[in-house]
Amino acid sequence: MRVPETSVLSDDLVRDLMAVGQVDVLVGVPTLNNAGTVTSVVRAVSAAFDQYFPRDRTLLLNSDGGSTDGTPDLVRGIRHDAGTVTVSHRLRTEHRISAPYHGLPGKGSALRQILTVADLTQARAVAVLDADVTTVTPEWIAALVRPVRDQQYDYVAPIYARHPTDGLLISQIVRPLMRAAYGWEVREPLAVEFGCSTRFLTHCLGQDIWTSELARYGMDLWITGEALSAGFRSCQAPLGQRLAPSSPDRPGFPDVFAQVVGSVFGCLDVHAAYWLSRTGSDPLPVVGAEFAAPSEPPVVDAARLTQTLATDLRELQDVLKTILRPETLAALNEAVAGDRLDYTDALWVATVGEFLIAHHRGIMSRDHITRALVPLYLGRVRSFLSQYSAAAPADVDAALESLCLEFERMKPGVVAAWRETVKR
């Protein structure tokens, strides 16, 4: 076992890993006060090791950010077979380690520790899970690991079974923007769960990203973007429905929005050399059978959203006129002037594109730029839901596909503006 000289691993963890030796499959679970949900995740991992990888050397690594609710003790203490029906018997020992991570607080440091351990133990396949999720099953782990172990994929992004009007921040900004930029049709670019190969994780560990701002909030997006832009063999794996209970400690929506959209824009900055010359988009292979999406749309009461957009727009004119082109701002003002808000695809795409360029140019604090987009996004959501909240899922899917294509049509203009900035 080759121990790196400057290690992000503590001496205790290295000692534990020496005892473990090489592994075939490693599942990493970053945690921070997840006592309420981590048990079901750990049991699902144990069951997956038993059912799907009985002949493999396995390791469950819990990278903890300093939980005060006893999460690491829970991870260590859960019996392998408690609450699960074992249908096959393991031929090898399942190792389980819980260790605190060091460095900047955030998922980036936890991921770095997990990937470093995987590199050190020469794991053939790695899966990373979110400890918040209550619907993790052994099949999730199998779906993320098998394409890497058996089909030589380097990166596996998840596909969640959800109604097309669920996850609007993903479907209105993240997915279409990432698709238009990177040229790959990834259903869930914000991959909280993913699988990867040693080749890919070694590449990731070599990148100068782990101490940046992006590492705190944007690693899920960066991992996807890095796999696509660096040419690693990637695919998608259907996992099923993903449910995570809402936490009272969660940040407010504007903060979440700023983190997610700031991370997308940040990733595009990092990977500009790749995507500026990429044209069109190709589907990313799907490995495994897709799950049926829930037929019922999420309960939404968006009636209040429109009432505020006109006011918010009026209040933010001074900020928006430094970000948006005059014609875009005029079109926006016109869109909110009538009784019925019609925030069209073309106008929304122009808005996002101009915010992206403003973010790239850094015309003001980047956090302010992303926060100024919040009211516009809520207006767009309201406009979209007023048209599609009662529509059939197939119609919503068609509308989302049309939005993605609109983003692709916008790309040449954004590329030209981006290159113009570089010249300046």
Binding site: V319, G362, I363
Partner: protein, 233 residues
Amino acid sequence: MFQMIADAINQAGVNFVDALVRLLPRMVTTITIIAVGWLIAIFLRGVVRITLGWFKVGPRVERVGLAASLKASGLPPAESLAGSIVFWLVWIGFLISGIDVLGFASLQGLVSEFAAFVPRLIVAIVIFVIGVVTANFVWRAALLAAVNSHAPSPRLLSGAAWWLILLVAGAMALEQIGVAQTIVMTAFAIAFGSLMLALAIAFGIGAGGVARRIVEHAFREPDRPDPDEVSHL
């Protein structure tokens, strides 16, 4: 009698010519200093503009919101403004040095006073620029936070924060250059006190309902669902 008058006039003429002879070289020196100073000031103005251009100060100034403030105040872009400030400081320095050479008793000591004033002026300018940058940043942050949290009157809140910071920065800058210190400090204290009193009255009595909504919004129970809850992620 006539002889005395003629001698006096003659003496006055001699004195005038003597004075002129003594003053002429000084005047030539003064004009030379002023002219050379003007050329040096022009040169330094160019150097400052080019240097700031190299370091891309323009986009940075635009980023912190200072460019918009300069434009709104009818001032030139930051590089030109900095160049002009350097030009005038240098040229006024040479101008005063030149006048000092003439040796007028009432203008004695101007150079040393100006030399002592320049650092204070520079510090005052820096304080004010930092104040404007901070005010712009806080104004935007407050405006966005208020809009995104649906707080009432976002522009009023952010505008009040902007004026408050600018007022403090302006008072500090004026105090630094020693312009009517007592008046400035008294005016600042009265203005600041009035503003706070006005806000307290407006917030507590005039807009009690708004105050209650803001406090309720700030301290609402965390697990109460938002009325506009939408599945975003």
